[in-house]
C-alpha cells in the first residue's frame, strides 16, 4: 500500500492538509464524506495543531481513482473545515513514523545492522524481540520496511504521512 502511495514518479498521490475546527464528530464528517463520495485515500493522520481550537488532518489521496478537484470542493463544503491546502509531492515536506516489533532469534547482529543503517532507534529491547522506531520521509520508511522483510516482523505500524508546504525560496534563505 505505502509503496503505491509513492509510486515511481512520486506523483500518484497528493497530500491534502485540512485545518478543521476541533469539534466533536469532525473526523467522522471527513471520513463519511470520503466514503459517501467514493474517494479513495491511502492514509489519514490527525492531531491538534499548536492552536487547540483547530486540528490538522493530512489525507493522502489516490489520484489514480479520485478527482482531486472534487475532493477539495466537497471538503470545503463541510462547515467545520476552515482551510484546505493541496500539496503536490514536489512542494511538500512529508514525514511519517513507523513502529516495528521484530523477532530475531539468532540473527540479532544483522538486525542491529539493518536498524542502524536506516537510522532507526530501538525503544524496547527484550533480547530476541525488540521494538524500533523510525521517523522520516515516506520513501525512507518504504526502504526500511523492505530491509526488514527478511526478518520475522511481529507487528508493524505506520502513522500515515503528515505534510507541510516546502518553504518558499525567500524563506529558505541561502540555499
Amino acid at each position: 500500500m505505502s509503496a503505491l502511495a509513492v509510486g515511481e514518479d512520486g506523483a500518484r498521490h497528493h497530500v491534502v492538509v485540512v485545518r478543521v475546527e476541533n469539534k466533536a464528530g469532525v473526523l467522522a464528517r471527513i471520513a463519511g464524506l470520503f466514503s459517501r463520495r467514493g474517494f479513495n485515500i491511502f492514509s489519514l493522520a490527525v492531531a491538534p495543531t499548536h492552536d487547540p481550537r483547530f486540528s490538522r488532518i493530512s489525507v493522502v489521496v489516490d489520484l489514480e481513482s479520485t478527482r482531486l478537484d472534487q475532493v477539495l470542493a466537497q471538503l470545503e463544503k463541510l462547515v467545520n473545515v476552515v482551510e484546505i491546502r493541496e500539496l503536490h509531492p514536489a512542494d511538500a515536506t512529508e514525514a511519517e513514523l513507523c513502529l516495528v516489533t521484530v523477532r530475531a532469534p539468532g540473527t540479532r547482529p544483522s538486525l542491529d545492522g539493518a536498524l542502524a543503517a536506516a537510522g532507526a532507534r530501538v525503544v524496547e529491547d527484550a533480547g530476541e524481540t525488540l521494538t524500533a522506531v523510525l521517523a522520516g520521509a515516506p520513501l525512507e520508511l518504504d526502504a526500511f520496511e523492505a530491509a526488514l522483510a527478511r526478518f520475522d516482523i511481529v507487528e508493524l505500524q505506520r502513522t500515515g504521512r503528515v505534510a507541510l508546504p516546502k518553504l518558499a525560496p525567500a524563506l529558505r534563505g541561502a540555499d
Binding site: V20, E21, A24, G25, A28, R29, G32, R36, D69, Q70, A73, Q74, E76, K77, L78, V79, N80, V81, V82, E83
Partner: protein, 583 residues
C-alpha cells in the same frame, strides 16, 4: 433572563421568525413541547414524522423560508431521515430539531437512543449536538443561517433532554461566525465578461434553467436576461415556473420525460447557459453523448457542482441572481444598444428550428375527439391533469408524488410563476405529495393547493390527511389511480419483456373514497371522462376540509417522450403517434 433550555430553544425559534413547526412529541423532546403551549408558534401535529419533514419541505418550497420540524429521539429521528435526504437532494432549507437522551446517557444504548448526528451526517448540510445549554441561542442562529444561505439545505439540531431541562441565562445570539462556512461573494467580473462574450457569439444558445434559480429568487433576473438576449429556455423539473411558461421562448422541460424540443435543443445547442443547474443524470442521459457541440457557461453557487459532471468553459461561482444581473449588465455594455435586435436576427434560424420541433412534436396523448381516441369510457391520466389546470386559478400550487403521475403533472401543467410546483426531484420519494401539500397550504393559505398523487404513493403517507382535517388545512388530492406502481410497470413493459413483477395494486383495495371519508375528507370517485371536470369543480368549491378524488385512469398508459436509462438524449422515444414523423 433565566429560562429552561427548552424555553430558550422555543424563544430562539421565535427570534428567527418561525411561524409554524410540524412535529410529533415523545419522551426525549417532552420538555420542549411544554413551552410550545405558550408560544406564538403554530404547531401542526402530524401522524408520522416523515410527514413532518415533507410538510416542512412543502412549506419551505412555496415560501422560500426554512421549514421547521420537531420530533423525538430514536424512532422519531429515524422516521424523518427520508425527508432530510429528500431536502438535501433538492436543496430545500429545513431546520429539524430532534430530541436526544440526556448527555449523561449518550453512548449507553439508552431507551430510544440512536446516533442521530451520525445517521444524518450524510443527508444534512450540517448538524449540531447541543451539549451546553449556554449554546442554544447561538446554535439555532447558526442552523438557520446555514440552512438558508449559499446553496440551501437541511440542517439538524440534536437536543438532549438534560440540556432542555437545564436552567440557562438566555442571551440574544451574537452574529453568526463560522470560520469554515463562506457562501461565495459577488461574481468575478472577468468570468461574467467571458460568459457575456460567449453569449454574443452563440448561434444556437439555450438557457438550461435549474432549481438554483428558484432558490436564489432569480426569476426576474432571468426574465430580464431573456428579454435582452431572446435566448430560449428549458426549465428542469426543479425550476418549473421560473420563466413564465406562456412565454414563446419557453421550450419545455428537459430530461428523461422532457419534451422533444427541450431535450433536442440541449443536444443541438452550441452554448448551454446552465444557471443553477447540476447536470443531473436524468437531464443529461448518457453523459458522453450529451450536448456534444455545446460550450458551457455554468453559473452555480456551489463550487463542488462546477466541473463535477460536465466541464464548464466559463464558470461563474456566485449567487445565481447576482450573477445573472451582472451578466445582463455586461451584455448591455458589450452588446451595445443594438443587442436585442441583432441577437434576434442572429438567432432567427435557431428559433425557426425550435418552433418547427415544437409544432411537430408537441406533448400528446390519445385525446377524446382526436383521430386516435382512447377506448370509449377510459379516463386518460393526462386528461385529468389538463382539466385540473384548466379549472384552477393561475396561482394554484401543484404538488406531486413520484411516478408516472408526477411526469404527467409536470408535462401537462403550465406554470406561470416560480414556487408553484412542489415535488421530489433528486430523491424521488414516493409519499411526498400528501404531507408536502399540507405544508404548502400552511405556507400559502391564500392559494389553492392540489396534489396529483399516485395510488401507490398515496398509500405511503395518506394518514397526513388526518392531520389536514384535524388542523383545517383544506388541501385537495387527485389520485391518478391506475391500480399499478405504474412507473415501474412501464419499465417492465419496455425493458423486461412485459414481465410484470410485483407492480399490481388493485383499483379497489383500498377503497380510496371510504378511506378519505374516514380521514375527515370529502371523497369522490371518477370512472368516466365526462365526470372529470364536474368532480374537479365540486372539489374546487369545498374549502372547509380536504378533498380526495379517486380518478380511475387507464392502467396501460405510458409516459412519452422517454429517453431510456443510459441512452443518449438523441435516442429519445416520442409518442407512438409521432414516431413516423422523421426528425
Amino acid at each position: 433572563m433565566e429560562l429552561t433550555g427548552a424555553q430558550a430553544l422555543i424563544k430562539s425559534l421565535e427570534a428567527q421568525g418561525v411561524e409554524v413547526v410540524f412535529g410529533l412529541p415523545g419522551g426525549a423532546i417532552l420538555p420542549v413541547y411544554d413551552p410550545i403551549i405558550d408560544s406564538s408558534i403554530r404547531h401542526v401535529l402530524v401522524r408520522h414524522e416523515q410527514g413532518a419533514g415533507h410538510a416542512a419541505e412543502g412549506y419551505a418550497q412555496v415560501t422560500g423560508r426554512a421549514g421547521v420540524a420537531m420530533v423525538t429521539s430514536g424512532p422519531g429521528a429515524t422516521n424523518i431521515v427520508t425527508a432530510l435526504a429528500n431536502a438535501m437532494m433538492d436543496s430545500t432549507p429545513l431546520v429539524v430539531v430532534t430530541g436526544q437522551v440526556a448527555t449523561t446517557a449518550i453512548g449507553t444504548d439508552a431507551f430510544q437512543e440512536v446516533d442521530t448526528t451520525g445517521i444524518t451526517m450524510g443527508v444534512t448540510k450540517h448538524n449540531w449536538l447541543v451539549t451546553d445549554p449556554a449554546d442554544i441561542a447561538q446554535v439555532v442562529a447558526e442552523a438557520f443561517h446555514v440552512a438558508t444561505t449559499g446553496r440551501p439545505g437541511p440542517v439538524l439540531i440534536d437536543f438532549p433532554k438534560d440540556v432542555a431541562n437545564a436552567r440557562v441565562a438566555y442571551e440574544e445570539p451574537g452574529p453568526v461566525e463560522l470560520p469554515g462556512y463562506r457562501p461565495p461573494a459577488a461574481a468575478d467580473p472577468a468570468a461574467v465578461e467571458a460568459a457575456a462574450r460567449l453569449v454574443l457569439e452563440a448561434e444556437r444558445p439555450v438557457v438550461y434553467a435549474g432549481g438554483g434559480l428558484v432558490k436564489a429568487g432569480a426569476a426576474e433576473a432571468l426574465r430580464a436576461f431573456v428579454e435582452l438576449t431572446g435566448i430560449p429556455v428549458v426549465s428542469t423539473l426543479m425550476a418549473r415556473g421560473v420563466l413564465d411558461e406562456a412565454d414563446e421562448r419557453f421550450l419545455g422541460m428537459p430530461g428523461m420525460h422532457g419534451s422533444y424540443t427541450a431535450v433536442t435543443a440541449l443536444q443541438r445547442a452550441d452554448l448551454l447557459l446552465a444557471f443553477g443547474a447540476r447536470f443531473d443524470d436524468r437531464v443529461t442521459g448518457r453523459l458522453d453523448a450529451f450536448a456534444p457541440a455545446a460550450k458551457v457557461v455554468h453559473v452555480e453557487v456551489d463550487r463542488a457542482e462546477i466541473d463535477k459532471v460536465r466541464r464548464a468553459d466559463v464558470a461563474v461561482h456566485a449567487d445565481a441572481r447576482a450573477a445573472l444581473e451582472a451578466l445582463t449588465a455586461a451584455l448591455r455594455r458589450l452588446g451595445g444598444s443594438e443587442l436585442p435586435g441583432a441577437s434576434r436576427r442572429r438567432l432567427g434560424p435557431w428559433m425557426g428550428q425550435l418552433n418547427e420541433w415544437k409544432e411537430r412534436f408537441p406533448l400528446t396523448y390519445e385525446r377524446e375527439g382526436d383521430g386516435a381516441a382512447p377506448a370509449a369510457g377510459t379516463v386518460k391520466p393526462q386528461q385529468v391533469v389538463e382539466e385540473l389546470r384548466r379549472l384552477t386559478p393561475d396561482d394554484t400550487v401543484l404538488v406531486s408524488g413520484v411516478g408516472q403521475h408526477q411526469m404527467w403533472a409536470a408535462q401537462f401543467w403550465q406554470f406561470r410563476h416560480p414556487r408553484q410546483w412542489v415535488n421530489s426531484g433528486g430523491l424521488g420519494t414516493m409519499g411526498f405529495a400528501v404531507p408536502a401539500a399540507v405544508g404548502a397550504k400552511v405556507g400559502r393559505p391564500d392559494a389553492m393547493v392540489w396534489a396529483v398523487d399516485g395510488d401507490g404513493c398515496f398509500q405511503m403517507t395518506a394518514q397526513e390527511l388526518v392531520t389536514a382535517s384535524a388542523e383545517r388545512i383544506p388541501v385537495k388530492v387527485a389520485i391518478l389511480n391506475n391500480a399499478y406502481l405504474g412507473m415501474v410497470r412501464q419499465w417492465q413493459h419496455m425493458f423486461y419483456e412485459e414481465r410484470y413483477s410485483e407492480v399490481y395494486l388493485s383499483p379497489n383495495l383500498p377503497d380510496y373514497v371510504g378511506w378519505a371519508e374516514a380521514m375527515g375528507c370529502v371523497g369522490l370517485r371518477v370512472s368516466s371522462p365526462e365526470e372529470v371536470a364536474p368532480a374537479i369543480e365540486k372539489a374546487n368549491d369545498i374549502d372547509d376540509r380536504p378533498v380526495v378524488i379517486d380518478f380511475r385512469t387507464d392502467s396501460m398508459e405510458q409516459v412519452f417522450p422517454m429517453v431510456p436509462a443510459g441512452a443518449s438524449n438523441d435516442d429519445i422515444v416520442v409518442h407512438p403517434s409521432q414516431s413516423g414523423l422523421g426528425r
